[in-house]
Amino acid sequence: MTFDAVQDTESAADDRERLRHVAPTGWRNPKPSRLYDLLVIGAGPAGLMAARSAAALGAKVALVERHQLGGDSLNYGSIPTKALIRTARMYSDMRCAATFGATPPADIQVDFGAAIARLRHVRARVSRTHSALCLTRQGISVFFGAARFTGKDAVDVDGVNLRFKKALVATGALSQLPTIPGLAEAGYLTNANLFDIGALPASLLVIGGGPLGCELAQVFARFGCRTIIAHREPLFLPLEERDAAQMVSDGLARDGVEIHLNTEVASVRVEGGRKVAELVIDGNVATTTVDQILTGIGRLPAVQGLDLEAAGIAYDALSGIHVDDFLRTTNRRVYAAGDVCLENRYTNTAQASACIVVRNALLLGRKRVSTLTVPWCTYTDPEVAHVGLYVKEARQRGIPVKTFTIPMHDVDRAIADSEDDGFVKIHVREGSGHILGATVVARHAGEMINVISLAMVAGFGLDALDGVVHAYPTQGEAIRMAAQAYMRDRPARWQDWLARAWVRL
């Protein structure tokens, strides 16, 4: 057997292993208990977190999954994209070897199949701890099937009635497809089928410049695919600060992504087996011909087919299930968490909201979702990470805000690493060290933001962070440098007094 053939076989084995864990064929649903303390619908990040926490507390828990355990995050989202990003970064580093004082390989051949094989292996490994058997061992009754509410305290799973004291709906969100004439006929990729394409397309049009669109556009460009990204806003990542969004734009451009901002994709047609997209920019029409189109960037809450009406749970198609600050739905017994009810559609937000539900539903807790401090990150190169308020939000609320900005090009380790694009910006309430929020743009921004998140949750201000000695040299030191800038800027109180006292001596 050739090496390639071995690789193919291993890759198929990896996928089989994952499916054995997350969607085992021939799975027999357990015999239902008379009454569950917590019934969880949806086994994505929120559902898994809630089921495990509740089971650990000794509650009788049922977990119902329609498709695959782990949800989008494990199977089609966070994990597989990050695996691919790592490979793409490797190729980028090889090409930029001279920047790091190394000799670039003479001939860089991109092996897309190897990248996908690694992705499948990574996914299989992560799935080991999320397997149905593993969950069962943790005391959770795992049901595969579609759940429908049949009343205020019961659901039907493929003909079996399950009754609950409390329930959690955590069905996540589904890809929302832009209504572009001709797109459906021409065919397109979404994150659900992207990882099954056999070969790297020669060219790819990415529609939508949100986090996932930017990440994947950069990845494919780094694999050597001619990549075009069309985004209807004037800047990528519309939620992020302008400077951060601009740096992502610069990063994509450096990797050769053809950027079309302020651009609508008006129509798609097929010509000679290729896809021709019509782009409209300020009233001007241009066409581009590509082999593949990637879209489905927007997401809509997955509320269909649950018979929510039967349980008296209010919802709408756009914002999903209606919840209060305690994540209660309009049915007192039923809660919701994650993408199906929250605006921030991130894995960590889903998990954190699930923890709140377990506390509130089972432990008489009064934890509010609005008090969560949740950082997020877009894993482009450089990465963009954020936590807390944006400057504009603070100003809208009438909070005087000041930003301490440390360019990464002032950070010794970033210079040593040749990774000095980006910044740490920490926003404080002016006149105090109280941290309102922060944005980090850096190669490892996702790792760096956690310290600021920790400080915010613990109530540490920049004055306290100044006292936290950091390992030197590290890129994370940028955060302490911001704290030092704050201390230098702070109206000196006791130092003034000390200096005056010293002069008097």
Binding site: N262, K392, T405, S418, D420
Partner: protein
């Protein structure tokens, strides 16, 4: 906390003791005079339109006309043009705009009192599918109001000049350009309506808001200025606290006309400084960036800084410190986040003399001295780049001259030397009203116009 703000005396910055070295006066006069000559040489005398650049087949930019109209009072004061001749030139432009096609069609000159960014210099009609530009119309109107303040004689010509300038200002429908009651749109096109960009974040639109708020006919609402300032970012970078914006021209354009020393809006009152001091700090940040020179460009340093909007090399990428450096052609460059390809806009360094003469004058002297013959082409060209391999040794220099650089030089050097533009516009009812509606108080605004 004691206020950092000290009210600045209204004397021209160049008159402060110890600022000028021997030879500076002659150097500045030569640079300013050469810049003024651009407008004498590059104006179509049949319609007053001014070429955007000195390059062949350049269209006119309405902003260039605005700078020309503002520059004529300087030329008259300095004896570089006669008063009658200057009035003729201003009247020619005002009559053209007054009679221009305002239908807003794809080949019109303007719409609702605004004008398309680029016009055919002969026919005065829209070219390049350019946008109906709110900021460039503001720069044009600022020029008209400046001329109207200066040419105050009772003669028929100067009376007509003032009448036309006032009518053209009143014709601009600023309110229409305000999107959804908030910030002003950057522009409009007959092909697609309003552009998807609003004026937000701190930038040169300060002048636009002042003129729009001061309009007696179609004013912006108070909410427009609030919407704009909501996106301000007050940052501490390299140890300087300032209202952040990357490119230098953003911190300069509005200051060519309006004397921001000692007057403050709500935001600046909170911060304890004024916009003039803010521009000084932004200038210091530019120099601090060039000293750090994070991307390793040739020449950058203590006396070689000034990233702004302007021309740059459009050559193939080349290796710089091991990385592949692209070059961006005409672009708005800024610090500290770029874009930066090693291109300096010398005119922006020169214009910095009003804010920070102690660092700007040495830089200008060095740029003038660095070039053979000392003719100041690094200061006069729209950009130069010592990193990019140009056709001749010593890097790349932008060919010819750009009107906006020359206009900024004429006005800023004049403000530095005599404060003429600031003095004229301090008496403008439109400017005063606009500033007051934007919440500016104190300083010269608290005293009556000198009439």
């Amino acid at each position: 906390m004691p206020s950092l703000f000290k009210s600045t005396p209204l004397a021209p910055p160049g008159k402060a003791p110890g600022v000028m070295a021997p030879g500076d006066e002659a150097m500045l006069d030569s640079l300013q005079h050469a810049a003024f000559d651009y407008f004498l040489d590059r104006t179509n005398l049949s319609n007053g339109l001014v070429a955007d650049t000195s390059r062949a087949s350049s269209p006119s930019s309405i902003a260039a006309v605005g700078f020309a109209l503002s520059g004529y009072p300087v030329g008259v004061e300095r004896g570089w043009i006669g008063r009658v001749s200057a009035v003729d030139r201003v009247l020619c432009a005002l009559r053209f705009f007054s009679q221009s096609d305002q239908s807003g069609t794809t080949t019109a000159t303007g719409f609702r009192g605004f004008y398309f960014h680029f016009l055919d210099i002969e026919t005065g009609r829209r070219v390049w599918q350019s946008e109906l530009s709110s900021i460039d119309t503001a720069l044009l109107i600022a020029g008209m109001l400046t001329a109207a303040e200066y040419f105050d004689a009772e003669s028929a010509a100067e009376t007509e000049l003032r009448h036309l300038a006032d009518a053209l200002y009143r014709r601009v429908d600023w309110h229409w350009a305000q999107r959804e009651g908030g910030a002003v749109s950057q522009g409009w096109k007959p092909e697609c309506g309003f552009l998807n960009y609003g004026w937000d974040g701190y930038n040169e639109a300060l002048l636009l808001y002042v003129l729009g708020l001061g309009s007696p006919t179609h004013p912006l609402t108070d909410a427009s200025f609030e919407a704009w300032t909501l996106t301000y970012q007050w940052e501490n970078i390299y140890g300087h606290d300032y209202l952040y914006a990357g490119p230098l021209f953003v911190h300069q354009f509005s200051h060519a006309w309006i004397d921001f020393r000692g007057i403050r809006d709500q935001f600046m009152r909170e911060k304890g400084i004024d916009y003039f001091e803010n521009s000084r700090r932004a200038t210091l940040v530019q120099r601090d960036y060039a000293i750090r020179n994070p991307r390793g460009f040739t020449g950058y340093g203590q006396d070689r800084w000034g990233l702004s909007a302007g021309d740059g090399p459009s050559v193939e990428p080349q290796a710089v410190e091991g990385r592949r450096q692209a070059f961006y052609g005409y672009a708005a460059r800024g610090v500290p986040w770029g874009p930066d390809d090693g291109t300096i806009a010398g005119a922006s360094t020169l214009a910095s003399i009003v804010f920070a003469p102690e660092i700007a004058l040495p830089a200008v002297r060095a740029m003038v001295a660095a070039r053979a013959g000392g003719h100041g082409d690094w200061v006069r060209a729209s950009g130069f780049n010592e990193t990019a391999h140009g056709p001749v040794a010593g890097g790349w220099t932008s060919e010819g001259e750009f009107a906006l650089d020359q206009g900024l030089t004429v006005l800023m050097v004049e403000n530095f030397r005599s404060g003429l533009l600031w003095r004229l516009l301090r008496d403008s009812v439109a400017i005063r009203t606009g500033l007051q509606r934007a919440g500016f108080q104190g300083g010269w605004l608290a005293t009556k116009a000198s009439g």
